[in-house]
């Protein structure tokens, strides 16, 4: 089934994290711009989830709006 194949792929991706020997091409001390608050995908979650609610209430499409990651990469 489509769903279980997708899940399997995702779990495989997570498992790959064990083989993290790829040298990062952006070093942690080079992430100054990415750590800038204006580079966050979602600066104000309350505000952005509301406008997504307005769109989804009036349109047929749903989903696909999530965004994680980025930032300073600290810790």
């Amino acid at each position: 089934m489509n769903r279980s194949r997708t899940l399997a792929a995702a779990l495989a991706l997570l498992a790959l994290s064990g083989c993290a020997r790829i040298e990062p091409w952006v070093k942690p001390y080079e992430r100054e711009n990415l750590a800038d608050p204006i580079m966050a995908w979602d600066r104000d979650p309350v505000s952005s989830s509301y406008i997504q609610h307005v769109y989804e209430s009036r349109e047929g499409a749903r989903g696909g709006t999530g965004a994680t990651g980025g930032g300073c990469g600290c810790n």
């Binding site: 990062p24 091409w25 989830s49 009036r58 349109e59």
Partner: protein
């Protein structure tokens, strides 16, 4: 008789994605403690909805975080559906939510629950997500699962009680491409089963074969719907300190709806305290396969819909925002506070949904003007970090 909102069919779905969505999780560092207090206002197509939205989040020992939210929609509706078939009404929808997060090494685990209630619809949503940083923290992968259970009721018919069971699976990958560019990819699949339509809405059909007049019968929807959304996005840092973002989403589902969403957004800080935002969004979809503005006869198909949300339509949104950062003297526990105002103007136009409001001149059924309307959306909010 009163018609309920199209918005309320979403209460459920949104509770998952909404204020406490697993998206709040970002592996590596838990988000800062903050409280947001927002007033939201929507006015368009004869409907006015406003109310508060509150969110508070707090972390402990950089390992655990909790959040709680409260949201109200106060609705005053004289929408086209209501005006043509019923009388204007008011109602209220209230939503509560809470969530927890746990961070260990580079993995964030999150769980949340929310409940949305209005007089003829209840929605409970439970969500889980796992998010992990990998490949030198350049990549973040998040998996999420959400389960919603809704109760659909009907005012004036106390014996009417139906259910909706909803499952949402999502994968989100965020990739740092360079010192200035971050890319994102999302996939989400939404499966619903149960009573998926609005119990008050009706479709219209031609009464005679020459279709000189029309009458109404209740909508009949399939009991299942599965939709898939694929989205890509990128955010780029401009050298003079500004950010530019582009988004694209493709959505398809088993009701034959296919849609494209394009958005561009620009963020420009001015000085130390001010941040300006602007964005443009374009949305287009085709109609569901059992949708029609006017059916040729009564009981023309197994499934019948005349919900404009399922019609062939497009919308344009232009929006602006201003955020101002300030410090409140005498309130030591707040590190930073901002006041924000955002305004959006939306324009909806329908290719196969007609405006049936009486105009004075009688029009043969099926030749009424196509419906379109504009909406104003305002968000005014205060945020405090502590």
């Amino acid at each position: 008789m009163q018609l309920s909102l199209s918005a309320r069919s979403l209460a459920c779905l949104l509770a998952a994605a909404c204020l406490l969505g697993p998206r709040a999780a970002s592996a590596g560092v838990l988000p800062d403690d903050r409280a947001d207090l927002m007033y939201h206002y929507y006015d368009g197509g004869g409907v006015t909805i406003d109310g508060p939205s509150v969110l508070v989040r707090k972390k402990f020992a950089e390992k655990y975080a909790v959040n709680a939210s409260y949201y109200v929609d106060m609705v005053s509706s004289a929408s086209i559906d209501v005006v043509t078939r019923a009388s204007p009404y008011s109602e209220q929808r209230t939503q509560y939510g809470f969530g927890v997060e746990y961070l260990r090494d580079k993995v964030t685990y999150a769980a949340s629950f929310s409940n949305s209630k209005e007089n003829d619809y209840n929605a409970d949503t439970t969500s889980f997500s796992i998010s992990q940083d990998m490949f030198g923290d350049l990549t973040t992968v998040a998996l999420s699962f959400s389960r919603g259970q809704d109760d659909v009721m009907r005012r004036g018919a106390s014996s009417f009680r139906e259910q909706v069971d909803r499952r949402i699976y999502g994968i989100d990958v965020s990739q740092i491409a360079s010192r200035k560019l971050i890319l994102g990819l999302s996939f989400e699949t939404i499966s619903e089963e149960g009573f998926l339509n609005n119990p008050y809405r009706e479709v219209r059909y031609c009464v005679t074969s020459q279709c000189l007049d029309y009458d109404y019968e209740f909508e009949r929807y399939p009991r299942t719907r599965t939709g898939n959304a694929f989205a890509v996005r990128g955010r780029y840092y401009l050298p003079y300190r500004a950010a530019l973002q582009g988004d694209y989403r493709w959505y398809t589902d088993t009701w034959d709806i296919s849609s494209h969403t394009f958005e561009v957004a620009y963020t420009h800080p001015v000085g130390e305290r001010l941040t300006l935002d602007a964005h443009y969004r374009f949305y287009t979809q085709n109609s569901a396969d059992f949708y029609s503005d006017l059916f040729p006869r009564q009981n023309a198909q197994n499934f019948l819909a005349r919900d404009k949300e399922l019609a062939a339509m497009s919308s344009h949104t232009v929006g602006f925002g201003v955020a101002y950062e300030f410090r409140i003297r005498g309130v030591g526990f707040l590190d930073k506070t901002t006041v924000n105002l955002r305004y959006d103007r939306m324009q909806f136009s329908y290719d196969d949904f007609r405006d049936l409001r009486p105009t004075g001149t009688a029009r043969p059924p099926g030749t009424e003007p196509l419906y379109q309307f504009d909406a104003n959306v305002v968000r005014l909010f205060f945020s405090g970090w502590f």
